[in-house]
């Protein structure tokens, strides 16, 4: 299923106008949010390591917009897009990234620990690979509690080299729990290309030995991501075992805001810019007659307005009380 030459709009299969518009809006919200994060981080308004997913928005949008609030998502360190697409309020997300009291985690977590239980966003994780078994446990709980809802976990291609990835894949398969493992294969782990970390070409190649069905799609084609995830989700909702969906993509920004960047000379950003997932959807939409470029500009403008409102909200939110850490170290 992989492929799509630079500039190939793809088929747009499986989408209709309403779904395509929702995906467009979601991708613009992520893009606008993260483009604004960069200067906020550089001016130290936004705190801590800030991993942007600019260029990868199609994966978050194609996956999370299909999930109900009671279908949990576990995310990794590059979590903003997943969180926004899963329904986390932008203002509360930004307030969290700024360490404010009205942040979704009351300012205690920050960008690598965003959680919003009400929307089933059970959380970002700062330890690469550490989130993988949580999703299996959550899916197992769902099954034992008689809830027909799967769990979803995002991970990068770098996480596939952790030991816990293999342990998790084996458990998910052994117990046949309804979990969808979504890999964002952006070809890099921090500053190192995938080829320097493993001789395994595709992350989906790792699924077969565990007898886990898998697919690899062009992760910059939101229609492909949407269709492939719809298939995986339908299986999981029907109570089938795990599925691994690998989305080939590329981050158009550094590993984190302010990273050394030198390694990126080797990266073909230009070729990937031509595969920008937003522009691609716009071309597909024009060909299919769903909407035109004007609609995209309107979605962008609305997203940028939402971001400015979020900045105003977050920047005016107070810092938390000094007693909060002691209050929340243990649940009562």
């Amino acid at each position: 299923m992989a492929g799509g030459a630079a500039g190939d709009p793809g088929s747009g299969g499986g989408l209709d106008a309403a779904v395509a518009e929702r995906l467009l809006e979601t991708m613009w919200r992520i893009r606008a949010f993260e483009e604004r994060l960069e200067p906020l981080k550089r001016s130290s308004m936004v705190l801590g390591l800030t991993h942007l997913s600019i260029g990868q928005e199609a994966v978050a949008a194609g996956v999370c917009t299909q999930l109900r609030d009671d279908e949990p998502v576990y995310s990794n360190h590059r979590a903003n897009g997943h969180a926004l697409a899963k329904g986390v309020d932008m203002g509360r997300l930004l307030a969290e990234l700024m360490g404010r009291a009205e942040g979704c985690c009351r300012g205690l977590g920050g960008s690598m620990h965003v959680v919003d239980v009400a929307h089933g966003f059970l959380g970002a994780t700062g330890v690469v690979g550490g989130n993988l078994p949580f999703a299996v446990g959550s899916a197992l709980a769902g099954r034992l509690l008689g809830q027909d809802r799967p769990a979803v976990v995002f991970f990068g291609d770098g996480a596939a080299q952790t030991g816990i990835f293999a342990e998790t894949l084996n458990l998910a398969s052994l117990w046949q729990v309804p979990v969808v493992l979504v890999c964002e294969n952006n070809g890099f782990a921090e500053f190192t290309p995938r080829s320097a970390h493993t001789r395994v070409e595709r992350v989906s190649d790792l699924a077969a030995p565990f007898r886990v069905p898998a697919a690899t799609v062009d992760g910059n084609d939101v229609a492909q991501v949407h269709a492939a995830f719809a298939h995986a989700l339908a299986l999981a909702r029907a109570g089938s075992g795990p599925f691994l969906l690998e989305c080939l993509t590329h981050r158009l920004s550094g590993h984190y805001v302010g990273d050394p960047g030198g390694y990126r000379a080797a990266v073909e950003d230009e070729a990937w810019r031509a595969r920008d997932p937003i522009e691609r959807l716009v071309r597909q939409a024009a060909a299919a007659g769903w909407f035109d470029a004007e609609r995209s500009r309107a979605a962008e403008a609305a997203a940028r307005d939402e971001v400015e409102a979020a900045v105003a909200f977050a920047a005016s939110s107070p810092f938390p009380d000094l007693g909060l850490p002691a209050e929340l170290t243990y649940a009562r």
Partner: protein, 324 residues
């Protein structure tokens, strides 16, 4: 009075918890077969393998699965067969379980229990004999329970399972098959964080944990024959620690010995000693003395291991030192 053992009390307590609450599940290597120490004996027969889940040898993922399950409504009790293997699960425990409530601003709870066991004296050698509980006491967000008898298992394990936080229960393999009698009416659950005064005395306080409680009782009986009355306190939970009970005792006796089986250097005894000297400095009549294992890995060879593991003799020696 009912005859039982520590191991049988674990199985019985787990069974009672599973009967009372459908959300309680047990996960671990060979747990459906009772495990090597029979601590989960009979559970799979009564509750089925959907709730008594055998796992492959994947300590990290098992712990992570328990965390995810706990965050989604179950009350998992996960077993790590030997505390020596806790390193494999430590990231999950420390970065996942311990911090989820905090980092989520209080949204997530992780009501899980991690049962494991330590202790030397069974020729298990250096990788199957350690007492590593102090590692876990250094992590805010975890509770650490160290039951010293079947009675304490019956009192504390239900509270650990009911707790909304991740609780590590460190059992002692050397206690598993000691015979004990428990009251016929059973033992009621007791809250975590309360020490138990096991023996009253006014001359010296001995704070002992896990299997060292029995050693302290033995030492105290011996001291009593020589006119010295030792107060023996079992903290029962290291986190949270019941400092007031310990400090009140030391304020009265003026002397403290802290005894655990773990390596003395960097062990939890150092924390107790430090907290007591801050709370009771002017009540102390002698320096606090710690009893623990030497700073070497646990040796295999019987004479070496026997010399390595601290017991009543080392406690007596320490008491003589604080009595001056």
């Amino acid at each position: 009075m009912a005859e039982t053992t520590y191991a049988a009390t674990i199985a019985a307590t787990l069974a009672a918890a599973m009967r009372a609450d459908e959300r309680v599940v047990v996960l671990g290597e060979d747990v459906a077969l009772g495990g090597p120490y029979l601590t989960t004996k009979g559970l799979a027969e009564e509750f089925g393998t959907a709730r008594v889940v055998n796992t492959p040898i994947s300590e990290a993922a098992i712990c992570g699965v328990a965390i995810g399950a706990a965050q989604s409504g179950l009350r998992p009790v996960v077993e790590i067969m030997f505390i020596d293997f806790i390193g494999l699960a430590l990231d999950q425990l420390v970065n996942g379980a311990a911090k989820a409530h905090f980092m989520s601003g209080g949204q997530l709870d992780v009501p899980m229990v991690l049962r494991t066991q330590g202790g030397a004296g069974q020729r298990g050698a250096a990788q199957h004999s350690q007492s590593l509980e102090s590692w876990l006491t250094h992590v805010p967000g975890l509770k650490v329970v160290v039951p010293s008898s079947a009675r304490e298992v019956a009192a504390l394990l239900p509270s650990a399972i009911a707790d909304p936080n991740p609780v590590v229960v460190v059992e002692s393999k050397t206690l598993y098959f000691r015979h004990e009698t428990l009251p016929d009416e059973g033992v009621s659950p007791e809250p975590l964080g309360r020490a138990r005064v096991v023996r009253r005395g006014d001359d010296v306080t001995i704070v002992a944990t896990s299997k060292m409680v029995n050693e302290a009782i033995e030492a105290a009986a011996h001291l009593s024959e020589h006119g010295v009355e030792a107060e023996v306190i079992d903290p029962r939970t290291l986190v949270p620690l019941d400092l007031p009970t310990i400090a009140a005792s030391v304020a009265r006796t003026g002397r403290l010995v802290v005894a655990h089986e773990a390596v003395q250097h960097g062990g939890f005894g150092a924390e107790i000693a430090a907290e007591v000297q801050e709370a009771c400095f002017y009540d102390l009549d002698a320096p606090i003395v710690r009893v623990g294992a030497p700073f070497t890995p646990v040796p295999l060879s019987p004479p070496l291991e026997d010399a390595y593991v601290p017991g009543a003799a080392e406690i007596l020696d320490a008491v003589r030192r604080v009595l001056g």
